[in-house]
């Protein structure tokens, strides 16, 4: 078990990202292991979101981003020109800060990704819908109204729908960008519970502005500051005994 836990699924090597000459991420090297929840904390503007958006190459879609370095997913560089970005985005599924249900029913939201991936079998799709809704702790609340418009769900339900929608892609890595910043404490707890269950099947990268959430819902924590990785280690150790003074200052609320 211990050996498997330390197998890296993503290895980031010397990743530098600039946006119109401004350095956003500065020579970052770290790895994400299988079956772990990695939290990324740090004050605003430290490059957390940009880092996540590198993992599935969403930054390609905005103008002005330049990337150097490597990100290896299962040993393959995702920046290689031959990479199929649609395929990559299915493997590295993303959940945004603000839930974005597409303007369809719950069911259609969930089968959209699998259908794009070429799954046509109705039974298989139904099965994916049920499994992913269960994994996101939403099944019991919506199982009788799968064909209702998704935007009629509450904010917390919408966010769990977004988690389920990504899970339906059967990704290897789940990346979440402050998934609970717009949610109430109960919805937040449900999402955190879901993440705990999910780590047996997916590597999870969680960006959060809430240090308490990082302490509760992660195995390892990385602290970013101004685009640099300051410190990274087991969550318990980072929170009780940080090595770097800046990490300590951030955690006790001296800045950020």
């Amino acid at each position: 078990m211990a050996a498997e836990e330390n197998t890296p699924i993503i290895e980031i090597q010397n990743l530098t990202v600039t946006h119109f000459e401004k350095v956003i991420l500065d020579n970052l090297s770290l790895s994400v292991h299988k079956n772990e929840r990695l939290a990324i904390i740090g004050p605003a503007n430290s490059g957390k979101t940009t880092f996540l958006r590198c993992l599935n190459r969403l930054n390609d879609l905005s103008q002005g981003f330049k990337v150097t370095g490597k990100i290896l997913l299962n040993g393959r560089n995702i920046f290689h020109p031959a990479t199929d970005t649609a395929q990559l985005r299915r493997k590295v599924g993303m959940v945004y800060a603000v839930p974005v249900p597409l303007p369809w029913s719950i069911y259609e939201n969930l089968v959209y990704g699998p259908k794009l991936a070429g799954i046509k079998n109705k039974n298989r799709l139904d099965e994916l819908v049920e499994n992913s809704l269960k994994a996101a702790f939403l099944w019991d609340e919506v199982k009788d109204r799968l064909h209702m418009a998704a935007r009629n769900l509450s904010g917390g339900q919408q966010q769990r729908l977004c988690v389920a929608r990504v899970l339906a892609l059967e990704p290897e890595v789940l990346v979440l960008d402050e998934p609970c910043s717009a949610l109430d404490p109960i919805s937040t707890a449900k999402i955190e519970d879901a993440l705990f269950e999910l780590k047996s099947r997916h590597a999870i990268v969680l960006v959060t502005n809430n240090t308490k959430q990082a302490a509760r819902a992660s195995d390892r924590t990385a602290f970013f500051l101004m685009g640099q990785l300051i410190e990274m280690g087991d969550t318990g150790r980072i929170f009780t005994n940080p090595v770097d003074k800046r990490t300590n200052d951030y955690l006790i609320g001296a800045f950020g």
């Binding site: 649609a86 985005r89 945004y96 303007p103 990704g113 794009l116």
Partner: protein, 286 residues
């Protein structure tokens, strides 16, 4: 304070004058045209192709068919092209290029219709005559000319509709592993559907109402067209061509043609408006 009230009253009067203009035109056209329609009988007026004002035959069916044929052709050409352009400009083209091309397409709206007609007669009509046969002045020629004329309407309203779809939808779809094209046809076109329908219906209204360019290239023959290479006369051309020398019942019949046109365009605009409103409501709901 009294000055404020005066200004308010004045502005209100100006605002109402637009409404009054519409009312006066409507009442006048209907007053002049309706009696003849009822005298001739609905069946003989709308469903007869005999238009012989000298003999008292006022059947406008051939012109109704002419108008519909030309409008349909224009929408097949202009609608497809315009929607295609809107898709390319909003989804696939670099923003800088798009911001150059969009105003260029909108400039097309500023060219006088007589110039379109002239271009059609000089270039398009001979090509059709030489390569496809027939007199050249035809449904096809009118459809192509009108298709280009409705491009700015269809394109710019479709672009607005596609741009009104939240960027987060687009990115959400791409993040789920959709390609640009999959996102466009599975998400964007559906989300912008009502705006796009409104664009096409407004374009239809424009094609149906256009007169000058159509007179110049459509041939204006008083018969039901058998193919796209036959000449036709539209409702609008009929009024413009005969107004100069019409009197008495003939003149009334032209107003009746106007009533028909008016009703059809009103129906189109109402449908377009209701679709446009629905888009706005959906936009707020999200």
């Amino acid at each position: 304070m009294r000055k404020d009230k005066l200004v308010a009253a004045l502005l209100q009067a100006i605002a109402l004058s637009a409404l009054a203009g519409l009312m006066i035109i409507t009442v006048f056209i209907f007053k002049e045209g309706l009696p003849l329609i009822f005298r001739t009988g609905l069946k003989d007026f709308f469903f007869s192709a005999d238009w012989e004002p000298g003999k008292g035959n006022f059947g406008i069916m051939s012109m109704i068919i002419g108008s519909l044929a030309v409008t349909l052709g224009a929408m097949l050409i202009g609608g497809t092209l315009g929607l295609g352009m809107a898709i390319v400009l909003t989804q696939f083209c670099p923003p800088k290029l798009a911001s150059l091309i969009k105003p260029t397409i909108e400039l097309l709206a500023g060219i006088p219709s007589v110039v379109y007609g002239f271009m059609g007669v000089v270039t398009l009509v001979p090509i059709i005559r030489n390569y496809l046969g027939g007199p050249g002045l035809s449904v096809l020629a009118a459809s192509i000319v009108l298709g280009i004329m409705v491009l700015p309407t269809v394109t710019s309203i479709s672009i607005d509709a596609l741009k009104a779809v939240p960027r987060s939808y687009w990115e959400g779809s791409v993040a789920l592993g959709a390609t640009r094209w999959q996102t466009t046809h599975m998400l964007m076109l559906k989300a912008a559907r009502s705006g796009i329908v409104a664009a096409i219906i407004l374009g239809m209204g424009r094609a149906l109402g256009e007169t000058m360019a159509v007179i110049m290239v459509a041939g204006n023959a008083l018969e039901v067209p058998g193919s796209v290479l036959d000449p036709v006369r539209t409702l609008t051309s009929n009024i413009a061509l005969e107004m100069g020398y019409a009197s008495g019942e003939h003149r009334e019949a032209l107003f009746a043609t106007g009533v028909t046109l008016f009703a059809v365009i009103m129906i189109f605009n109402t449908i377009a408006l209701s679709f446009a409103r629905r888009t706005i409501r959906q936009g707020r709901g999200q």
